[in-house]
Symmetry: C2
Subunit: 475 residues, 2 copies
């Protein structure tokens, strides 16, 4: 059989799981349900026999997070498509489908959000395999989740009258149903003929292209132009911004699926959640008899219907006498919310943004193409950072006008260039970079380099940097 | 008039304000109500014209915190009495009274807890001045707070029938009343003849000694022996442990006051709170119209009857849709509790202690006689600390078996001795202390020295230290 090409949709930047998920490091990349991110779990779910390497579509600031996280699960993308700006799923899915159609028109595309949880990957791969023959015939196959409660937060898929409920093959789809009210949700959940719309599609690349041509020709035209003008850059496919800017902000459901002819739905009875808020995270984590979820570092005393999380290794959180509460602690930001109002977390983010608090959008750890850095402490004329440089990576050749830097290597071996001299600096050695010196930090080894940087000077902003050479082509 | 000698009782180590107050840094030294600690505010309240320098009585681990905090409000103690172990207020007050009686038998002693809040210091000093003449005549004058609510958490003082309620001079006291039930509290709060017992006493040193001699001779004997055997040590009076260990654990109320003859009570109508829990802190902070208190770094959205605190400069906390909640965030520990059950915080501390969590008893900042240090980050074979050395202070001459240290000075100028060489290291300079080297760090200047220490090695525990010389006489 022809392999299935996973398309991981990873451009979203929602705020409903703040403070763990922030604009600078959104939900799909966060470790919400275990040591793997949702993105990593998605990539692993759609891998193995029968699957090609994934395509990823994401936004500019997340491109290195995506490749780094794929590497963390021993994968590499066929390409990472970079959206110049978010335009919902219709343009994103099509961009990946067209990229594949150019290479193999009948390639099977499995487009899936990368920020959902499906804790039974084998069962889902079996469902995908069962759906593949219908997709290979040219149908657009969508996946529907057997509902376990009368949920008003999801859209539904209604089976056609002739469909066999719970069949192990794709069945005809009657229609897409919008998020319902409580009465209608109860009706549908009990009907046996309605499924939750998980936003996952399987189709041939050319069938998708043809469906857009019939139902959304303006999207096809814009995406085709953005792909034609795309720039290939270090394994990334940077879509052309000008045609992209003309595209409507529209979901693939609205643009294409609801109007398409040869539609089928594959029923999936395994566990699934879109983790659309802390209440969903609580539910998915499996509350104990009191309805309480207390993860590592969390202690619940006499709590009911409560979620307690401490996101940082050394941190502790204690809940005492709580009911219907979500509390999520990070070293720089803490959320305490009524759980039944957890959907309002975006109000918290908006309030912090209005106050100019960095925590509204940024995590303490800053991810860069070469690794990451984290500010440990800031004083009047100094700052201490922990810097991690990936094997083979290099920071730009640079200098600073206002600060000197002391580097102490605590793990690995760094190659350090200061003006005309280059030296290896290994664990427990230090080096001094005077103000104004042109310098570069590289990791020539096979293990991460971890170093402690102590900056001293009158101005310590990230923008005091003059770059002379940068393998990552930054300004 | 003879000056009044404040005796600040600062040995307590309660846990009801965890995580801000911990066993290693208890409530009286924490910044609960502003930039000054309660201890500092107490010292300033009992200073100025008419007051001698204070006596402090505290426990061994807090002695340098006490002297450092006094210095912070430009005070120095006559002496700091060190209790070998906590024995409640009867022995503590008497130890100070006897220390004074040896020097000036008729000295007026004002004994007061240092962990209460009285935000109107001038009014209280006026009450003390008004009470002084009766105390100088030999009476034991206690201070009673005019009740503002039917509080069941405090003991009460009942005016004698002949007393004039609300008088501006001390009045005869009928008796001490234990913490009442709700009905009795309501009755007393409304009576106009009952006051809250604030645990503050004014008396002549010899009158106190004589009262103990009559009513608690075993306490007098033990304390006198502990003082006779005391060791004077760098401005501290270290009471002799053996007689101290024989003393009963008893309050001055029970041991002496309730039985004494010449008792008077001075009524005080100003604000007072013992800040006996987070609910009291909430009340004292002045809730807004919704009953909410959100300090610096805290954002309340649609909250009622809620206290939100972020204790660290850079940290943020957001409350959303909360009611009757206390949430206190520190970088290493967070408490979220139902406010009306805030008295149960000790259960949280006990649970953490049972789990072996350092946060149960220790703050991230560790205070030492020479200054303080704080662990910023710990890795597999390294640790980064911020170290502050006070002007004129010196760490012990020491060496380590298992770690090397890099020091980068970021503020001030340090004097560093490594083996036989001594050098000055100033801002933006660094120095390396190899494994095994005998070294000393001193601050010869007039400003704090702040340095970043990066330790590397296989074992980084505090106990890997061999001390050769120590001006603070530690082992």
């Amino acid at each position: 059989m022809t392999p299935i090409h996973p398309v991981l949709l990873a451009g979203g930047s929602g705020t409903r799981l703040w403070p763990l998920s922030r604009k600078s490091y959104p939900k799909q990349f966060a470790q919400l349900t275990g040591p793997e991110s949702l993105f990593q779990a998605s990539a692993r779910r759609l891998s193995g026999p029968g699957f090609a390497a994934p395509l990823v579509i994401t936004a500019e600031p997340f491109r290195f997070i995506a490749t780094e996280q794929l590497a963390g699960v021993e994968q590499a993308a066929q390409t990472v498509l970079i959206e110049p700006e978010g335009r919902n799923t219709a343009p994103a899915v099509l961009a990946a489908a067209l990229w594949l159609a150019e290479r193999e028109p009948e390639a099977l595309v499995l487009a899936a959000p990368s920020d959902h949880v499906m804790p039974e990957p084998e069962a889902f791969r079996a469902a995908v395999a069962a759906a593949a023959p219908r997709a290979a015939e040219g149908a657009l196959v969508t996946f529907g989740i057997a509902p376990t409660r009368a949920e008003t937060g999801y859209g539904y898929l209604e089976l056609a009258p002739e469909a066999e409920a719970g069949a192990e093959t794709p069945q005809p789809l009657a229609r897409f149903v919008e998020k319902p009210d409580a009465a209608r949700a109860a009706e549908m959940a009990a009907s046996g003929r309605h499924l939750w719309n998980a936003g996952i599609f399987l189709a041939r690349a050319d069938a998708l292209r043809d469906a857009y041509a019939r139902h959304a020709p303006e999207v096809l035209e814009g995406v085709a132009a953005a792909l034609a003008g795309a720039e290939a850059d270090l394994g990334f496919t940077r879509l052309s911004p000008e045609p992209w800017a003309t595209l409507p902000d529209i979901s693939i459901d609205y643009a294409v699926m609801e109007k398409a002819e040869d539609l089928a739905v594959m029923s999936y009875a395994g566990r699934w959640s879109d983790l659309g808020g802390w209440d969903a995270v609580w539910q998915e984590a499996g509350p104990d008899a009191d309805g309480t979820v207390a993860g590592d570092g969390a202690t619940a005393i006499d709590c009911r219907d409560t979620l307690l999380r401490a996101e940082s290794g050394g941190q502790r959180i204690v809940g005492l006498g709580l009911e219907d509460i979500v509390a999520v602690a990070m070293p720089d930001a803490v959320l305490v919310a009524k759980k039944s109002e957890a959907q309002r977390v975006k109000e918290a983010v908006a309030a912090l943004k209005a106050e100019g608090a960095a925590q509204a959008v940024q995590l303490p750890v800053d991810h860069r193409p070469w690794g990451s850095f984290e500010s440990l402490v800031t004083g009047p004329r100094f700052q201490v950072k922990r810097i991690v440089v990936k094997p083979g990576a290099a920071l730009s050749l640079q200098s600073h006008h206002h600060r000197a830097e002391h580097w102490i290597v605590v793990e690995g071996t760094a190659k350090v260039t200061i003006d005309d001299a280059t030296q290896l600096v290994s664990e427990n050695q230090s080096v001094y970079v005077p103000l104004g010196a042109v310098h570069r930090l590289e990791n020539p080894g096979k293990l991460d380099v971890v170093l402690i940087e102590v900056q001293t000077g009158a101005y310590l902003g990230e923008d005091d940097i003059t770059r002379y050479e940068d393998v990552y082509r930054r300004g």
